[in-house]
C-alpha cells in the first residue's frame, strides 16, 4: 500500500515494485544462469580435451593394431582388440538383457497389474537400478568365476553388464507400454484376439520406437562401464575374438590401463580411446534422440 501513503502529486501506482524485491529477483536470476554456466564448464572442458588430445593418435594404426608387445613408452599400438571386445561384450549383454527386460515389463504392465508379485518385482527393479556397477562386477566374480570356476572372459563381462542393463530397459519399456492407450487393447480384445497376440501385434508395435530408444540409451550407458569389467574380463593387450574364452580387452579398460602409465605415448592412446568411446556413445545417444523426435513429428 505504499502508493496510497506516498506523498507528492499523482503517485504512480504502476511505476515499480520495491527495489529490494527487484534486486532479489535479479540476484536469483543471475544465480540460476550462473548454475547453468557452471555445469557447462566441465562439459566443455571434458569434450574439448577429449577432442584436442584424442586426435594425436587418431590414425589407422590405432584402429587396426592391438597393444600386443607394445610397451607403455612405445609409440604406435592400437585399440583394435579393445574395440572388438567392447562391441562383442555389449552385443552379448544386449541379446541377453533386452528380451528378459521386455518380457518383465510386459508382465508388469499387461499381466501383473495390482498383483502383489508385480509390486515386489517393480520394487526390486528400482533396487537394481541403484546397484553400483562395481557390485555387479563383484557378483559375477563371486558367482561365475569363484563359484562356477569359469575363467576371466568377455562373456563374464557381458553378464555383469547385463545386470546393469536389465533395470534400465525394464523401466524404459514399462514407461512406453503404459503410454499405449487402453482403447487399443480393448479394440483388439473386442475382436476376440487373445492377449498374447494383442501384446505382440498391437501393444509392442505401438511402443516399438520408444523401446528402441530406451535400449539404445541403455547400451550407451553400459558401454562406458569400466569397473565391472576390471573384475570379470581381466586385462589383455592381445586380440581375442572369442568372447567365451580367455581374457578380452575392452575400450574402457584400455583407457584405464593406458592412463595408469605415465608415459606420454600411453596417455595419448588413452585420450584417443576416450575419444573413440565418447564418439560411439554420443552417436547412440544422438540416434536415440532422432528416433524420439521423428516419432513426435509423425504423431503430430
Amino acid at each position: 500500500m505504499s502508493a496510497k501513503t506516498a506523498p507528492g502529486p499523482a503517485p504512480s501506482l504502476l511505476g515499480s515494485i520495491s527495489p529490494g524485491r527487484k534486486i532479489k529477483d535479479k540476484v536469483v536470476q543471475g544465480l540460476v544462469y550462473l548454475a547453468f554456466v557452471i555445469a557447462m564448464i566441465p562439459l566443455v572442458s571434458v569434450l574439448w580435451m577429449v577432442i584436442t588430445r584424442g586426435v594425436a593418435r587418431l590414425d589407422m594404426t590405432f584402429f587396426t593394431k592391438s597393444m600386443n608387445g607394445v610397451a607403455g613408452r612405445d609409440a604406435g599400438g592400437g585399440a583394435y582388440h579393445a574395440i572388438i571386445g567392447t562391441l562383442e561384450q555389449v552385443a552379448i549383454s544386449t541379446v541377453i538383457a533386452v528380451p528378459l527386460a521386455i518380457l518383465t515389463a510386459i508382465y508388469l504392465v499387461e499381466y501383473g497389474r495390482d498383483k502383489r508379485l508385480a509390486r515386489v518385482i517393480s520394487f526390486f527393479v528400482d533396487v537394481m537400478t541403484g546397484i553400483p556397477s562395481i557390485v555387479a562386477g563383484l557378483f559375477i566374480l563371486a558367482l561365475w568365476l569363484l563359484t562356477f570356476g569359469f575363467s576371466f572372459s568377455g562373456f563374464a563381462g557381458s553378464l555383469a553388464l547385463t545386470i546393469l542393463m536389465l533395470p534400465t530397459v525394464v523401466r524404459a519399456t514399462e514407461e512406453m507400454l503404459k503410454l499405449v492407450p487402453n482403447d487399443l487393447r480393448e479394440a483388439s480384445y473386442a475382436l476376440g484376439v487373445p492377449r498374447w497376440r494383442t501384446v505382440c501385434f498391437v501393444v509392442l508395435p505401438t511402443a516399438f520406437t520408444g523401446i528402441v530408444t530406451g535400449v539404445m540409451l541403455a547400451v550407451a550407458r553400459v558401454m562406458g562401464e569400466t569397473a565391472p569389467l576390471l573384475l570379470t574380463i581381466f586385462v589383455t593387450k592381445a586380440i581375442n575374438n572369442n568372447p567365451f574364452e580367455g581374457p578380452q580387452g575392452a575400450l574402457p579398460t584400455f583407457i584405464w590401463d593406458q592412463a595408469s602409465d605415465p608415459n606420454t605415448n600411453a596417455i595419448d592412446r588413452a585420450w584417443t580411446g576416450a575419444l573413440t568411446l565418447i564418439a560411439i556413445i554420443m552417436l547412440l545417444n544422438l540416434a536415440a534422440r532422432m528416433i524420439t523426435r521423428r516419432r513426435k513429428i509423425a504423431s503430430r
Binding site: P42, V50, S133, F139, A142, P181, V202, L230, L231, A270
Partner: protein, 327 residues
C-alpha cells in the same frame, strides 16, 4: 501422445484383424506367453537374491580369516599373512566424498532445473536439457582421465587457496594439501551426479500446476517470489529424493574416484590433503593384485557398499512414494 490415438487405433484395428485371421492356438499361446513374462520377472528377483547370497557366501571365508576388526579397523591388508583388514577408512572416505559431492551438486542442479523450466526461452528448454544430460552420457572412465590429467593440476591451486583462507575450518585444515584429494574426488562426483539431480528436479517442476504459478503471478509476485511460493514447496520432497538418488550414484562411483585419488592410509577429515580412499575405488585399485583372501575381502567391502547404497536409494524411493499418496 493423445493426438496419435486416432491414427493408431485404425492401424491397430487392421493388425488386430490380421491377428484374428491367423489365430489358431489362442489359449496355449496365451499361457506360454504369460508364463514367459512371469518367468522373466521371477528371474529378475532370483538375480537380486543371488547377488546378496553370493556376495555374502564369498565374503565369509575372508571375514573368518581376518585377524582385525572388520568394522573398526582402518588398515586394508588382506593379502598379508595373517590377513588384517577393516572397512572403517574406506567407508569414511566413501561417505564423506559423496556428501561433499551432494552439497556441491544439489544447489547447482536445482538452479539448472529452475533455469531450464522457468528462465530459459521455452523454445530452447528441451535443447538445454539435452545438453545437461550430455554430462551423464560421458562415461566415468573419461571423467577419471580428465580428472587425472587436468582437474588435479587445477585443484592443487584451489586446495592451497582454500587451505590458506579457510584453513580454520577443520574440513579445510591440515598441511601439505594437494590436488589428488578427497575434495577433488568429490568435485568429480558432483559433476557426475549433477545431471541426475537436475533431470529429476526438472520432472518435478514440470508437474507444478499452472494454476498455482498463475495464482502467485496474479498476486503480483516476481518470478523468484512465484518460485518460492508455488514451485519450491510443491517440489520439496521431489528435490530431496532427487538428491538422495544422486547420493546413491556418488556412493557407488568407482573409476573416476580411483583414478583421481592417490591412496593413503588413515581416516582424516582434512579433505584437501592428498590421499583417502573409497570402497569402490579400493576394489578397482587393488583387485589385480589381490590373493584369494584379498578377493574375498574386496567382496565383503562391496557388500557394505551395496548395503549403504541400498539404504540411501530405498530412502529416496520411500520419499517419492509418500509424496504420491499426498499430492
Amino acid at each position: 501422445m493423445t493426438s496419435d490415438t486416432g491414427v493408431e487405433s485404425s492401424v491397430a484395428a487392421t493388425s488386430a484383424g490380421a491377428a484374428q485371421r491367423r489365430m489358431s492356438t489362442g489359449r496355449a499361446g496365451d499361457k506360454i506367453f504369460a508364463n514367459g513374462a512371469l518367468g522373466s520377472g521371477v528371474l529378475l528377483l532370483a538375480i537380486m537374491a543371488a547377488i546378496a547370497v553370493f556376495l555374502i557366501w564369498k565374503a565369509i571365508p575372508a571375514l573368518q580369516a581376518n585377524e582385525a576388526n572388520f568394522v573398526t579397523d582402518q588398515e586394508w591388508n588382506p593379502n598379508a599373512a595373517p590377513p588384517t583388514f577393516g572397512i572403517a577408512q574406506l567407508a569414511f572416505g566413501t561417505v564423506i566424498s559423496s556428501f561433499l559431492a551432494l552439497i556441491m551438486a544439489t544447489p547447482v542442479a536445482i538452479g539448472i532445473a529452475l533455469f531450464i523450466t522457468y528462465y530459459a526461452p521455452k523454445r530452447l528448454a528441451s535443447g538445454l536439457g539435452y545438453i545437461v544430460d550430455l554430462l551423464a552420457a560421458v562415461p566415468s572412465i573419461v571423467y577419471g582421465l580428465w580428472g587425472l590429467t587436468f582437474l588435479v593440476t587445477k585443484m592443487d591451486d584451489v586446495a592451497v587457496f582454500l587451505n590458506d583462507y579457510f584453513g580454520w575450518i577443520p574440513l579445510f585444515g591440515g598441511d601439505s594439501v594437494g590436488g589428488r584429494s578427497i575434495f577433488t574426488a568429490s568435485v568429480v562426483l558432483a559433476i557426475m551426479i549433477l545431471p541426475i539431480i537436475s533431470s529429476i528436479s526438472r520432472e518435478v517442476f514440470a508437474q507444478v500446476p499452472t494454476a498455482n504459478i498463475e495464482a502467485a503471478l496474479a498476486l503480483g509476485a516476481t518470478r523468484w517470489e512465484m518460485i518460492r511460493m508455488a514451485v519450491l514447496p510443491f517440489g520439496r520432497s521431489g528435490m530431496i529424493s532427487a538428491s538422495m538418488l544422486g547420493l546413491g550414484r556418488a556412493l557407488g562411483e568407482t573409476i573416476a574416484v580411483a583414478m583421481v585419488l592417490s591412496t593413503a592410509a588413515g581416516i582424516s577429515i582434512h579433505v584437501l590433503k592428498d590421499g583417502g580412499n573409497t570402497i569402490a575405488g579400493n576394489i578397482a585399485n587393488s583387485f589385480a593384485e589381490a590373493s584369494e583372501t584379498g578377493r574375498g575381502a574386496l567382496i565383503a567391502s562391496g557388500l557394505v557398499l551395496f548395503l549403504i547404497t541400498l539404504i540411501v536409494n530405498m530412502g529416496a524411493r520411500a520419499i517419492v512414494a509418500r509424496r504420491k499418496e499426498f499430492v
